[in-house]
Amino acid sequence: MSTKIRLDNLNIHFGANHAVKDVSMEVAENSVTAIIGPSGCGKSTVLRSINRMHDMTPSARVTGCIMLDDTDIYSRSVDPVAIRRRVGMVFQKPNPFPAMSIHDNVIAGYKLNGVLKKGDADEIVESSLKRVALWDEVKDRLKRSAMELSGGQQQRLCIARTIAVKPEVILMDEPASALDPISTLKIEELIEELKERYTIIIVTHNMQQAARVSDVTAFFYLGEMIEMGETRKIFTNPEKKQTEDYITGRFG
């Protein structure tokens, strides 16, 4: 498998707070990589650097290099908007557009960019909703507000919205942490299917989830990447003591 994303000596500061320290890692194409670690260790911060979400935070400073295929995404000549079209993101709290219907939420990426071709919409809506297994649940009420859906349905709608614009990479920041167990299971099954077409990086503080869905796991602690490797190996035979302490729950 070829490398899709490469982080090289990534450092991220928020003002004086050195949130991510010298992180280097490679993510293979069509794989699921889990980032685990205690709260505040920089998981979200690393994830959000991969689609240049920190551009919106004036105090954030990103140094080092992130390659997406052959593109240095922080190079001056690169348009962050073009990067975000290739690297989609699913957030911790489901965030459908409240003023839009279920139908319009799925094609929001096209509508907001003003590039929707007449006649394409319904086709995109149906195929995207089918892919997140939401079609049967909502096909009779596509024109209703997205806010009428349950949290789990909203999150699958957000995933549908993300894949509708055909990204190459999907970043997920604790996508199931606000959901009930059944919805969580559905999201996990979905990730399994999505990896055939997309490269996925998922942040989770739920270790069972990481073990279930990912091929590779990276353990973060205090802004540093302590260890990264095949998921099975990380969970059964980690090399670093800190990793072992964390996955066995022996963490202060």
Partner: protein, 279 residues
């Protein structure tokens, strides 16, 4: 608890209640007096002719303030054409395009601008437009009104944009929607009712402004159809007719006052209704 302290408490409670009631009455009373007085004095002048004809010379009965109302509409419209977009885009710049010294400077100027007495805004418009154009004009009047509208629209829009959750902006940006489109189609769109409320309040505010029009639009006894010439405005007409020594004109002035107050009242109600229906 002793009987004495109980009585004391009751007494304190009662007097506090009375005091608040009195204070509430003092707030409502002036409004009531104004409404009562204006309706009493103005109602008799309101007839179809009031809205269709221009003032008659003193001594002739009848006549209306049609030119004043039309002039106000034109100048408020033109002021909004400038004031609303400048205010809204300024607010988007402040909230969406991130802080910095320039943002602080803009906020500070908006605050100062909104605190400047409107007569001074009129003088500035006089110096900037009336003098170089060698004449009073509707254009200068609109400019003065726009200067008053900008800070109001800017600050209310800014407050509304700040209330839009960051998660919505991020949802849009993460779909590869550029910041400017996100700002307009997601952030501003989400805040729209609040923004419109702010615009209505700004319009209500300038609709009654007299001072900034005194030496800009100047006023006009007749219809004017050129923006480069003096134009009538409702508050100006009220002012001029109220200080004139003719009974007929006084009646017209009261009629005009009634129209103005009803307009303000309607705008405020609309603004409140919009602001509330969101929840």
């Amino acid at each position: 608890m002793t009987l004495r302290s109980l009585v004391m408490r009751r007494a304190t409670n009662l007097s506090a209640t009375l005091l608040m009631g009195l204070a509430t009455l003092m707030v409502l009373l002036p409004l009531g007096i104004i409404f009562y007085h204006i309706i009493k004095m103005g109602f008799s002048s309101i007839n179809p002719g009031f809205f269709t004809s221009i003032p008659k010379p003193p001594g002739e009965a009848g006549g209306g303030m049609a030119n004043g109302m039309a002039g106000s509409a034109v100048m408020i419209g033109m002021a909004s054409l400038v004031g609303v977009p400048v205010g809204i885009f300024g607010a988007i710049y402040l909230t969406e395009y991130g802080g910095g010294r320039l943002a602080t400077a803009i906020r500070f100027s908006a605050d100062v601008l909104s605190g400047i007495p409107s007569i001074i805004t009129g003088m500035v418009a006089y110096t900037l437009l009336v003098v170089p154009m060698k004449g009073f004009s509707a254009l200068a009047g609109s400019f003065a009104l726009a200067l008053i509208m900008i800070p109001i629209v800017l600050r209310t829009t800014e407050e509304q944009l700040k209330m839009v959750p960051v998660s919505l902006r991020e949802a849009s940006l993460a779909l590869g929607v550029p910041l400017w489109r996100t700002s307009l189609k997601v952030t501003l769109r989400s805040a729209l009712t609040g923004v419109i409320t702010g615009i209505l309040l700004a319009v209500a505010r300038v609709a009654g402004e007299t001072a900034p029009l005194l030496f800009t639009a100047l006023g006009n006894q007749f219809w004017s159809n050129k923006l480069t010439e003096p134009m009538a405005a409702l508050p100006l007409q009220i002012f001029n007719f109220a200080i004139a020594p003719y009974e007929d004109w006084h009646r017209l002035a009261w009629g005009g006052a009634l129209v103005l107050v009803v307009l303000m009242f309607t705008l405020s109600l609309a603004a409140r209704w919009l602001g509330r229906s969101k929840h």
